[in-house]
């Protein structure tokens, strides 16, 4: 193989596979979004922005969009805020740290589907062990049917989302912390900096790139996350826990509104693209400032 073309031969197989499976459906979605499609998926005639207008006319779209913002913001925010101190603790040397790390990482090793199924059973209003435990501890006086209303189901789903997202953020942070040379802390201590000052002026700025990457990757993952909500409530009751992904799924596979579902897909892609672009600009600015 000639060495000038070698990289092309090496890269092309992966490119073709990914392009076929990932870019072709994207093109198909663009077709669906701009055409009139019947419920069996037959593309009939060009309809311009009719599908878009139909989506924008649906109040459930705005509700789902708003709930997606709460879901993503809540899960990612909660994850980062909890994970940073956890990583700081796990970075210290204490007895049983290995075990502590394993426990914190446990939720990562279980698929979201299984986690959600176990929680669905734990949250059962009549026989669930969460009610049992909370009643025994005297935290609640009456059993609560957690999943029967969005007001209790949605915050719980966010909580479960945080729980399963912590391991990834903690590992990224631990990786970052271990890359900080320890002698700068000694220098700071010699200069009389308190632990709090060290955290604020040394650790936080040096951890910026790692916080950024954890933020962006988490936003992408959580924004797209489907199993927790689908397994627990399928967006119900009465659409009170629908986010964009469940709304999209229902449009496509329950209501047979494929054109509108395609529009929602493209809107989601546009939102993700915006986040990623924002992020890469942030990173570039960061690098220039250094």
């Amino acid at each position: 193989m000639s060495s000038r073309l070698a990289p092309a031969y090496l890269i092309l197989p992966s490119f073709f596979l990914a392009a076929f499976i990932i870019l072709f459906p994207l093109w198909d979605l663009a077709q669906l979004a701009t055409h009139n499609v019947n419920r069996f998926g037959q593309v009939r005639f060009f309809s311009g922005i009719d599908n878009l207008l139909a989506v924008l006319d649906d109040s459930l779209f705005y509700e789902s969009l708003w709930r997606t913002a709460i879901w993503t913001g809540g899960v990612v925010g909660g994850t980062i805020l909890l994970s940073f101190p956890i990583a700081l603790i796990l970075n210290e040397d204490f007895a049983g740290r290995g075990l502590a790390r394993v426990i914190i990482m446990l939720p990562w090793s279980v698929s979201l589907t299984m986690t959600a199924i176990v929680w669905r059973w734990s949250l059962n209003g009549q026989f669930g062990l969460l009610n049992k435990t909370l009643l025994d501890l005297g935290i609640i006086a009456e059993p609560i049917v957690w999943l029967a209303s969005g007001a209790t189901a949605f915050p719980l789903q966010i909580g479960i989302g945080i729980l399963v997202s912590i391991p990834f953020a903690v590992t990224v942070f631990l990786g970052g912390l271990s890359s900080i040379p320890s002698d700068i802390y000694e220098a700071a201590r010699v200069d009389g900096a308190s632990p709090w000052q060290q955290l604020r002026t040394l650790t936080l700025p040096l951890m910026r790139p790692f916080i950024n990457i954890a933020l962006v990757l988490n936003v992408i993952y959580v924004f797209n996350s489907f199993p927790i909500i689908w397994v627990l409530t399928q967006g119900g009751p009465a659409n009170q826990t629908d986010i964009l992904v469940t709304y999209l799924y229902k449009l496509a596979f329950r209501f047979g509104k494929m054109g509108e579902a395609a529009v929602v897909s493209l809107i989601m892609f546009a939102l993700l693209l915006a986040v990623t672009l924002l992020y890469s600009r942030m990173v570039i600015r960061d690098e220039q400032n250094r």
Partner: protein
């Protein structure tokens, strides 16, 4: 009290609330899985079973068709991992050993494939599998999982390949070995650990995938484990929770052990591959 002892107590105290919440579902899973059926749905609810009924696992296996779903999951995960590695290893090698014009563009492309998550594309992918006549076939999942794992695999592999010293390869060239021969005899043996680790994570990703399997697999014979277990929960009048918890336990624990053992490699690979 020594400084370290104090730190130990404070650390465990601070972490304990979270640990309780993390371990809670595992306790629920375990104790429900070994309960006799009549104790699962009894009021008042109890944590501990009167007898540990291990036979639940055997009953569950027969009643749910667990074996078939297990085989499907093993097949899909293994095949998609092989396909993903087959295309990702050369790409990662090119990224770590060559300088070429399209490098930046290819990296951008990988990033975009990561942003287009399965759920955003699910309708398009569904129509694609109908078009190529593979709806309800586990093979369509093999292709799709492989494609979605490429970016991750390339990132992981590339970050490890970068740590393999070039000196050895260059020495082989000096002795007259061709580039191809060098790859086979010098580079690949050194890259085996990286490929194994990447393969295991790709395997787990496929093993755990939900939404695509839910959409593409229509008949119970083709269900993978997550869909099988979900189908036992959703839309049923009677749900045998002790069977379901036994099934989740069986489906979860082996993967959890492997994952727990290997996650430090994941951290290193991800941190190096995606930041650089």
């Amino acid at each position: 009290m020594s400084k370290r002892a104090k730190r130990t107590i404070v650390s465990w105290l601070l972490l304990s609330p979270l640990m309780v919440v993390i371990l809670f579902p595992f306790a629920v899973m375990f104790f429900t899985a070994v309960k006799p059926a009549d104790e699962v749905l009894s009021t008042p609810t109890v944590w501990l079973p009167t007898t540990f009924r291990w036979a639940n696992f055997i009953d569950m296996w027969a009643a749910t068709g667990f074996g078939r779903a297990l085989l499907n999951s093993l097949y899909v995960s293994t095949a998609s991992t092989l396909v993903a590695l087959l295309v990702a290893v050369p790409a990662a090698y090119a990224l770590s050993r060559y300088e070429f014009k399209a490098k930046g563009a290819y990296r951008q492309f990988l990033l975009i494939t990561q942003m287009l998550s399965p759920i955003v594309l699910v309708l398009g992918l569904f129509r694609l599998s109908v078009a190529i006549g593979l709806l309800d076939s586990v093979n369509v999942l093999v292709l799709i999982y492989a494609a979605f794992n490429i970016a991750f695999a390339v990132w992981m592999l590339q970050s490890y390949f970068a740590t393999i010293p070039r000196d050895l390869e260059e020495a082989a060239w000096l002795e007259g070995a061709s580039r191809f021969r060098t790859i086979i005899t010098v580079f690949l043996p050194l890259a085996v650990p990286a490929m194994v680790v990447t393969a295991i994570f790709t395997f787990i990703n496929s093993w755990n995938e939900f939404v695509l399997a839910l959409t593409m697999l229509r008949s119970a014979e083709s269900y993978t484990l997550p869909i099988k277990i979900f189908s036992l929960v959703a839309g049923r009048y009677t749900v045998e929770w002790n069977h379901i918890m036994a099934a989740t336990l069986l489906a979860t624990v082996p993967v959890a052990i492997v994952f727990g053992w290997l996650q430090r490699y994941l951290v290193r690979g991800l941190a190096l591959g995606s930041v650089k």
